[in-house]
Symmetry: C2
Amino acid sequence: MSAPQARTKRTFGRPLNFKRGVIELAHGSGGRAMAQLIDELFAKSLNNPWLAQGNDQACLDLPAGRLAMTTDSYVISPLFFPGGDIGSLAVHGTVNDIAMSGARPLHLSAGFIIEAGFPLGELRRIVDSMAGAAHDAGISVVTGDTKVVERGKADGVFINTTGIGIVPDGLHLSGDLARPGDRIVINGNIGDHGVAVMSKRTDLDFAVSIVSDSAALHDLVQVMVAAAPELRCLRDPTRGGVATTLNEIARQSGVGMMIDESAIPIQPGVAASCELLGLDPLYVANEGKLVAVCGPQDVEKLLESMTNHPLGKNAALIGEVVADPHHFVRMRTGFGGSRVVDWLSSEQLPRIC
Amino acid sequence: MSAPQARTKRTFGRPLNFKRGVIELAHGSGGRAMAQLIDELFAKSLNNPWLAQGNDQACLDLPAGRLAMTTDSYVISPLFFPGGDIGSLAVHGTVNDIAMSGARPLHLSAGFIIEAGFPLGELRRIVDSMAGAAHDAGISVVTGDTKVVERGKADGVFINTTGIGIVPDGLHLSGDLARPGDRIVINGNIGDHGVAVMSKRTDLDFAVSIVSDSAALHDLVQVMVAAAPELRCLRDPTRGGVATTLNEIARQSGVGMMIDESAIPIQPGVAASCELLGLDPLYVANEGKLVAVCGPQDVEKLLESMTNHPLGKNAALIGEVVADPHHFVRMRTGFGGSRVVDWLSSEQLPRIC
C-alpha cells in the first residue's frame, strides 16, 4: 500500500468526492487513481508509520515469543448491520482468531476486493470503522491491497484481514488438548450476531433490538489465561455456531462432550427470533463469544475472572468433556433426555461473516 | 483452517467428487461440508504440520530478525493462463512483495472466496498449483480460510495471500532511498505477463507463444543483496507496469528519473502484440520482474550477479536517478528526444493479477 504524504494535490488534481463519487476500475489499476485512493482514504484513516512509508510490505520489530498467524475473508451481507459493519467485523474476527491461541494481537493486513460502482462514501464509512476497531483493540493495519472488479463480479466489498500476534512463552492452547473431565465454558449469550444480521436482511420488526455481539476478545483472554493455568483450548464459535465449534474440538481431541441445554445463556429475544425463523441458536454465528475448555480444578477461578470482565459478565459453565469413541457432542434437554448435537450439515445462514 | 487427520471417512461419508462436483454454499458454512473440503483438498494438497494441527491460527517459531509482512488479493481473469494460474500467481506475487524488502519469505496465509457452482476439479487444480509454487519457493501455507458466495456474487475464485518473512539484520531497502546519480536496473524483458493473459482473453493467435513471466524472485534478491551493498530499493512492477513503479519510487524519494527507451529489454513478440492491442508495454503488468535502484559504484557488480542467475539473464541498466523538483520520470526516445513517462491514469488491463 503506497502512501506518500507530500504533494498530494499536485500529484492527483481534484480530491476524491466522498459525497457522490464511486469506485471505478482505475482505482484498482496500480496507477494514479489507486495511489490517490490510498492516500486520501486508506493511509489517512488507518494512519500509522508503516502505511505512511509507502512500501509494498511493512517491516516490523516484534517482541520475543512465538508468532501466531491467522487469516479470514469477510463477505457478510448486508455490509452494515446492528452493532457493526464489515469493517469492524474484519478487525474483531481476525483479532479473535489470534487471541484464541492466547497470543497478544499486534498487526493486521487488509486486502479489499471492491465492485466497480461502489459508493466512495460507504467505503470511507467501512474503512473508518475498521480504523476505529483497530485503535480500540490496540493494533495497527500495517499493509494493504486494493483490487477492483467489474460490476456484477463481486458484491459490494469483500475484505480479507490477516493478523499476527505474539504467544507468551510457555503458553500452549490447542483444540487437541481437551480431556475427559474437563469443563466447557462460554463467555455469554449465544446467537446475537446471526440474528442481528438476519433482522437487517429480512427487516424483521421483532428483532430490531438485537445487536451483534461483535467484539475483540483478546483482553478477556489475557485475564482468563492469567486466572486458569489449566486452560486447554479456546475457540470462537463463529460460522456453524457453538455446536460446530464443540464438534471440531471433540474431533481434534478424540473425545465426546455433554452439554446442558438449560445452562446455555441466550437472550429471550434471540431465542424467540430463532424459533420464528426456524433457526437452531446452537448453529447461529457469534462474533464476540468464545468457548473455553479448562481442567476441572481451575474452572471456578476461570468463571470468576470472566464474570468480572465486561465481555464475560454472562459467562456460564455449559458442560463437560467425556470419553466417547464416537466423538459425539450430546446435550441434556429440558425434558430429562439427551440428543446428539451434530455438525452443521447444510447452510442455514450464508454470508454471516 | 481445521484439518484433523483421523476418521475422515467416518465423519464425512462419501468423499468429494472432483470429477463432477461443484462448490456449494454449504462448503462455506463452517460445518461438515467445509471441514470435508479442508480435509480432502486444502490440508491434503498444502500438507504441512500447521494445517494438520487444525486450529484457527498457526503458531510459528521464527528465526531472529525484523519481520516483513505483505498482503495481496488475486482477482485475475481468466484463472488459467499461459505460464501459470491464479494459484501459482498468488504464491509468486506475495513472495515477491516480501522479497522486495530483502526478506527471506517464510510463511503464507491463503483466503479463498469462491462462487457457488465453481467446479471442484478446477479448484483442486488451483490449490495443487499453489502447493507446487509454495514448495518450489521453500515456503508453507500455514493457515487459511474458505468463504463461499452465491452464484453471480463473485467471479469463480478470488484468493488473498498474506506473507511474512525475515529481514536480515542491518538490511534496509525502501522506496524513499533513491538519490540522484543512482542507477536503475531491471532483471529482464517487460510485459510478458500482461500480454500472456491478454492472449488468453482474446484468443489472439500471434501471441500464443508468449508465456507469463510469473516467478518467485526471492532467490535472485538474495544474490543481489550479497553483491551490492549500495542497493537502495527493489520493487516488482506488477499492476501499472514499469512506468508506474518508477513514478512511485520517484515520488517517495523526491527525485526524478531518466530512462533509455532502447535499453529496456522486451521480446519482439510482446512489443508487436502491444502495438496491435494499443498497449504501452511500460504500463503492462509483470509478475517475475523487479526494478532495482543502486548506488553507481555497485551497479556493475549488481548486474553481473543478476545475469548469472536464471531469473536475471536478460538484466539491463535502463536509466538513472536525477534531481527533479517535479519528480518526473522521463525517457530518452529512439529519435534523440525525451518524453515524460507519467503515472498510469486510467485502466488499460483490468484484472491482470
